[in-house]
Symmetry: C2
Subunit: 176 residues, 2 copies
DNA sequence: TCTTTTTGTTTGACATGCCAATCAAATGTC
DNA sequence: GACATTTGATTGGCATGTCAAACAAAAAGA
């Protein structure tokens, strides 16, 4: 009913997630520490914005700071970053290697949804990808077959993502 | 580099998408027409909010109104709604029928990302699902096999979506 | 040491999107 | 016709997240 409102109820906003990622990336070269300026440069926003945003992240326990304004991910923050990065990577791998979505588009799409994927869904996608690279000959065959199927599909170029739900009803009837 | 900023650059916000969907849903029973109150009730927000939000949607050509304040999707708005609903449905079908994600979770996840999926990605996912229900015995076998694989996987219960990217590196090495 | 640059913070502004409260006009009811 | 309800719009408030501009303090260079 009101499922759509859960969008805002996320623990991590898109902006917050990328602040944490920026701290993580900068920290890789500086022993886990980052400065406001580095984060701002990494994100392409002003120092002022970062300064304000860090206040909220500190208050909620994602990051810590020392007396010299140096910023560091808290254990909780690090875990969140790893979870988000892993979700993004597995989604991107699925899009590029299974769905054959062009790399730039896969990068954009995975970046947009990385912080919105739930833990269960992320885990299942990991398992699915793990299955597909498990070496099982069937998996290889399927990927190859789908590539052919897709290349041959007459709707490949014109399909507008199933106007009017035709595909969905089809899927429901098939009930897999 | 600055890919993360494209999140805001979406043509449809989550809120806007659901306003359009609400108009669509209400309109199904009233020949395509909806009133502000109906939309507000459908979304669980106040009439005031809807009134203000509709102003922007009108200005950008997603909805039209007549002289009696009746609201209707423009052709462009209708197309957008169908695209979003189709993306949501195909994502949900993938999550539930392929990844075996529980229905409530699949509903939440698909709702969160429905408006963020690009057209190319949506189309490819449609083709993938179409392939899986094409009746090809190989497809059936794969789905069954993955179900087993997943049930047997010792990490099924504990995996934290691949802490530290181990899976990703694995996927890259495999290069599919 | 003196100057310049870099840095972090604060301020006022804007945009989105929600709320509650208020209001006028239209609609219903007696 | 008179009163009550429903409806759409407006207002002021709050929260997030961005900017530009101004500021003090620290760091770097001469």
């Amino acid at each position: 009913m009101q499922t759509w409102k859960e969008f805002e109820a996320n623990e991590l906003t898109h902006s917050a997630a990328h602040h944490l990622i920026a701290i993580y990336e900068v920290g890789l070269e500086y022993g886990g520490w980052a400065r406001v300026s580095d984060i701002a440069r990494e994100l392409g926003i002003t120092r002022g914005s970062v300064s304000i945003n860090l206040r909220a992240l500190k208050k909620r326990g994602w990051v810590d700071t020392d007396e010299h304004h140096m910023v560091k991910l808290s254990p909780k923050g690090l875990k969140a970053v790893q979870s988000v990065l892993a979700k993004k990577a597995v989604v991107k791998a699925f899009l590029t290697n299974v769905l054959n979505v062009p790399e730039p588009q896969a990068e954009i799409d995975s970046c947009k949804i990385e912080h919105l994927i739930s833990q269960p869904t992320g885990e299942q996608l990991v398992h699915f990808m793990r299955f597909l690279v498990s070496g099982d000959p069937l998996a290889k065959q399927v990927l190859a077959l789908f590539k052919d199927f897709h290349d041959q599909c007459p709707e490949s170029k014109t399909c507008e993502v199933c106007q009017g739900h035709c595909l969905i009803e089809e899927l429901q009837r098939a009930a897999l």
